[in-house]
Amino acid sequence: MASIPTSIHTPLILGEKTPSVVTTDICSALERRPTLSWWIAIAISSSMLLLGLIAVGYQIMTGIGTWGLNNTVGWAFDITNFVFWVGIGHAGTLISAVLFLFRQKWRTSVNRAAEAMTIIAVMCAGIFPLIHMGRPWLAHWMAPYPNTRGPLWINFRSPLVWDFFAISTYFTISFVFWYVGMIPDLATLRDRLKAGWRKTAAGFLSLGWNGSFRTWLHYETVYLLLAGLATPLVISVHTIVSWDFATSVIPGWHTTILPPYFVAGAIFSGMSMVLTLMLIARKTMHLEDYITKQHVGAMCKILIATGGMVAMAYLTEFVTALYSNSQYEQFAFMNRALGPFSWAYWIMVSCNILSPQILWFKAARSNMLVVFMVTIFINIGMWFERFVIIVTSLHRDYLPSNWTSYSPTWIEIATLVGSFGLFLTLFLMFCRFIPVIAMAEVKGVLSHGRRK
């Protein structure tokens, strides 16, 4: 009966929790009426979403001539937003799969929310290639199906087709991983809620889960296999996104460092967005015992590591350009740092390289306001990174007579705002209807009832 909580390590979850306290803490947030701050937040986010819907509707009816693109700059805001959102998604898979394989137990407090963020971010990302097609009602032409046009098959040698397969596989696998991880918690909700539509829904979706250990044994195997599959998948997805650029012959894009550079950048930006959201959720949903300074500190260390990789990539690009002795390559990088878009370049450098350096200090890592500010800077910096890569490489190409500039129209800005609206609205809905912390996993890392 007696359980002696051992604390050789600092406990992951504070406050001497027992499994039933975990259930109550996490579920009570769903059973309460929404707070005023939640209503205010959803009012703002759904207004942003509405603005985005209007903009997208207008540009689909009128055509993508409503964007600021021109003959020289054929990719700009849309693809920047696409790469930005796909990158955001990667941290969820990092936390749920990679850290699972590395047996990082602290991940249990944040994996549910991070995976939700992944799924929502990939939805946001998916909008941009879709509307960029110009005729989104023909989007199904991307899929290889027997058709009446020949059948004319898709070109499997094209990186854009690879991208379609990568993003759709990534979305599917992330969603399945998230759902499988949620089945035990849905069963907990089903057995706890009073009769009503939520109980019915939880009962339907929990698939008759009864906590049988024979099932748990297979469940753990499935979870491990999914983690093992999602890890190479997440690397492949951003590698393929980078190939959209690297396989073309544009100076600044056509380089072999792009895949690792993009993967590191994706994890960096995603981890920063996870922190932004978790710091807000921790405060507003009173989850300080579950998402402790230890968790925040661990995520800050990942930010320093991946930020270092990104800095290394920025430097390597310059050295490669210098060493290549190719005047186009050298010009592209000089133009990035000193040309008309140098302001964007230096925002990128100061946000992504300089701002995370403060996290080397423990005092900064344990000050939630400082960490929050740094994550906001990184979110901005990583958006600008994609903008810099895309626009500065295009706007001054091989032929000086083609040189031009680019500025977004209000339609493009409204679409970006709308994607943030979609992201925040869906995340707020997630916080209301789904346990934000994986209860069955957190219960397994408590020190309650365990001597080891």
């Binding site: 009962g203 698939l207 008759g208 195997t221 296999l225 599959l229």
Partner: protein, 185 residues
């Protein structure tokens, strides 16, 4: 007479013991196995590590499903890419060869992951009878919250309920109940 004896034969008797912590359920399960009792199942709110050894369970064979279907998915996709690009309607794109195996690799990889993951999950759900809308049969109402339930099947004629009950009480069981399950004939 005949009906009564058949009914008796099909009755399955179970002993349910509910514990409140991981250590207790591990100790009780190990103890039950060591004394040769038949462990029907153990119900826990989370995956208790070491319980598979305590229950003497074999490792899951789902990795084979994952491997086989992943391989099948990848093979199918390579064949499909060759067939569409080189056989059914070959189109010259930038002078690239019909047989562009390196360029076929990324999509093949994605499809392999898709097949492997979805088939593993499907095999798991079907194998364990987890289907949408299915009603859960709970050993004890708290097993999805904070209770750990050990269910022993009374397979042996010499099974002494009182003795086992007393044993579980000492090991910390908070609730013990004998259940009889009648199988419909």
């Amino acid at each position: 007479m005949a009906e009564g004896s058949r009914k008796l034969a099909s009755d399955r008797r179970f002993l349910l013991a509910v514990f409140t912590s991981e250590d207790e359920i591990l100790a009780a399960t190990t103890d039950a196995r060591d004394r040769g009792l038949t462990i029907a199942d153990v119900y826990t709110p989370y995956a208790v590590h070491g319980l598979d050894k305590a229950m003497d369970l074999r490792p899951s064979r789902l990795p084979w499903v994952c491997f086989a279907l992943g391989l099948a998915g990848a093979s199918f996709k390579v064949w499909f890419e060759f067939w569409t690009s080189a056989s059914d309607w070959p189109i010259n794109i930038g002078g690239k060869p019909w047989n562009s195996l390196p360029a076929f690799f990324p999509v093949t990889f994605e499809v392999m992951v898709l097949f492997a993951a979805l088939s593993t999950v499907a095999a798991f759900l079907l194998g364990r009878g987890l289907l949408p809308g299915r009603r859960a049969k709970l050993a004890s109402p708290g097993v999805t919250d904070d209770e750990f339930a050990l269910v022993i099947e009374e397979t042996d004629a010499s099974f002494c309920v009182d003795e086992v009950t007393a044993r579980f009480r000492v090991m910390g069981a908070t609730y013990i109940e004998e259940r009889i399950e009648q199988e419909s004939i």
